[in-house]
């Protein structure tokens, strides 16, 4: 008796959850499907779901016309470079705050977080001015710097919360055994910290990849990443649904896959450790 009601309930909740899940996912699914249609089929009335002539033509056209690979490469370099640079700066900082805390540690952490709250538009002109002055406009190095700086607080915070979980006793024991600071970091700390560093890298790569204020405002042609490449589709000519879909699918596919791996870190990273 009790079992049959719980099974019935499970069927009901499963059905509801899948319906809601598919509804939320629908825009992405529809985009991916449309990317395999011809332009005429893309606007067919009624809409075609699965029974159309699947084609890869749009992908070829997008690559040929707009040199997709160049934008992709820019995205990879900018997101990867800014994350790597951020990690190099943040690991020592987070390490020192987690293991050698001082009276000011909490204030420094909170202050770092507060720089993240600075609205980008408030400093748009000064940053453009500095970019012009140093010939950084439309360069990858300029964007790498800016994205590194806007994500640095999150990187420090994530690493800090991970490092905090490494028990201090282990370090004490290593010190007792006569380990030097260098040995302590290299052989004791690093192996324990690698999972935390890896998830920090993952989440920040995603954030940098999707950043769409500075990447739109500080690039023109040569350093433009995928966010800007897609924005160029906002003033279309003629039939373009299938091509837009192909371009969009290519822009989001890599990060969607990475993102699914980072679900758990996402909560921690974006709430600054306040929700675990």
């Amino acid at each position: 008796m009790a079992r049959s009601t719980t099974t019935k309930r499970k069927i009901l909740t499963t059905g509801l959850a899948w319906a809601v899940g598919l509804l939320i996912f629908f825009p992405i699914l529809w985009t991916v499907l449309t990317s395999f249609k011809t332009e005429a089929q893309a606007i067919n009335d009624p809409p075609l779901f699965l029974f159309f002539d699947w084609t890869l033509e749009n992908y070829a056209v997008v690559q040929e016309r707009s040199d997709y690979m160049r934008f992709l490469w820019n995205s990879v370099i900018i997101a990867g470079g800014s994350t790597l640079l951020g990690i190099i700066v943040a690991v020592p900082a987070a390490w020192s705050m987690a293991f050698v805390p001082s009276r000011r540690t909490k204030d420094i952490l909170l202050w770092m977080l507060s720089t993240k709250m600075l609205p980008a538009v408030g400093v748009l002109y000064p940053i453009s001015l500095i970019f012009v002055e140093f010939n950084l406009l439309d360069t990858r190095i300029g964007l790498i710097m800016v994205l590194m700086l806007i994500n640095l607080p999150i990187i420090v915070w994530m690493l800090y919360t991970y490092f905090k979980e490494i028990p201090g006793e282990i370090l004490e024991a290593a010190r007792m055994d006569g380990a030097t600071l260098k040995e302590e970091i290299l052989y004791v700390l690093t192996p324990m910290a690698i999972p935390g560093i890896a998830s920090t890298i993952l989440l920040n790569f995603i954030l940098a990849w999707n950043e769409a204020f500075w990447t739109l405002n500080l690039t023109a042609a040569s350093a433009a990443p995928l966010t800007a490449f897609i924005a160029s589709y906002s003033s279309p000519e003629g039939l373009f649904f299938a091509k837009l879909s192909a371009a969009s699918t290519m822009a989001i596919a890599p990060i969607l896959i990475l993102g699914w791996f980072s679900q758990k870190q996402l909560v921690r990273g974006l709430t600054f450790g306040a929700v675990k």
Partner: protein, 292 residues
């Protein structure tokens, strides 16, 4: 016990991050403040080399008294408020649903979270064209199927459309955080309440909701900070037309389109103040958590 040696080493390791962030904060902020007190119209021949005229608080008063200021504040509040309402209410419901035993839970979770990883320009363009296009969009097909007149979403219901798009992007974030909080709920307490015959709504109101209040607060604060600076979604859909010009977008237009740097900078200072008011509350909560 940290030695003197390790303490100075620690300070050294902290320095690069602090210096970089300090520079990143102070340099642009000082420049914005500086420009906000100057008449600076590069198109009309003002230039840094020849020096700029000091105008006192003229830019600040002009920004406030311009006819587009209050509408933009109103648009910002409606947009942020609308997205918060939708994402928090649906987020709580979704979190409770996903917490139930269901078949294929992992897959459903992935489907629900996916929109968060879609870059803003893509989600805005996909919604604008594939879904909301008044002729060929899915919604137009749906409306015609039910015999209704298709809606020109982004011109006739522009603000609601943008709220819908942004909510779609942020619902996963709210759901994920609230789900994490729901999962830490003490199930014994709930079962005890169920035994005592407390109805579902009562259990939700007296046990679940209070437990979620902290997570909800965090969702609201973090989202507010990101939502106040929504840019790409407006940039590629309406370009600020049809009543979708938020404060952020207004400042962007002053600086980039009309090249009035002084006026735009004064607006920027207002935006910074606004963001800081929200930030103070967020920092309090995060700070408390640090002590715990």
């Amino acid at each position: 016990m940290a030695t003197q040696h390790s303490r100075s080493a620690a300070r050294l390791m902290l320095t690069p991050a602090v210096v970089l962030l300090l520079g990143w904060m102070l340099v642009p902020l000082t420049l914005t403040l500086f420009f906000s007190f100057k008449k600076y119209l590069p198109m009309r021949g003002d230039s840094l080399d020849r020096g700029l005229d000091w105008v006192g608080f003229a830019n600040y008063t002009r920004f406030l008294s311009s006819s587009s200021f209050w509408p933009s504040v109103q648009t910002t509040l409606i947009m942020v408020g609308g997205v918060l309402l939708i994402t928090v209410v649906l987020g709580v419901l979704l979190a409770l649903l996903l917490d139930q035993p269901i078949w294929g839970q992992g897959v459903v979770r992935i489907l629900v979270i996916a929109p968060f990883f879609v870059m803003p320009t893509v989600s805005a363009l996909v919604w604008k064209n594939m879904l909301m296009d008044p002729v060929n969009g899915i919604l137009a097909h749906l409306w015609r199927f039910f015999g209704a007149e298709p809606v020109s979403w982004l011109s006739d219901a522009s603000l609601s459309s943008i709220i819908l798009i942004v909510s779609w992007q942020w619902l996963p974030f709210a759901t994920l955080i609230l789900l994490t909080a729901v999962q830490s709920l003490d199930s014994e307490q709930l079962e005890a309440a169920e035994m005592d015959g407390a109805p579902v709504l009562k259990r939700f109101w007296h046990i679940v909701l209070p437990h979620l209040s902290r997570a909800i607060t965090i969702v609201i604060l973090i989202q507010t900070i990101f939502l106040l600076s929504i840019f790409a979604e407006i940039f590629v859909t309406t370009g600020g037309a049809f009543g979708t010009r938020t404060l952020t977008y207004l400042i962007f237009q002053r600086v980039i389109d009309s090249q009035n740097i002084g006026l735009g900078s004064a607006g920027g200072v207002y935006a910074i103040i606004l963001a800081n008011i929200v930030a103070i509350f967020l920092m309090r909560i995060v700070g408390k958590n640090l002590d715990a």
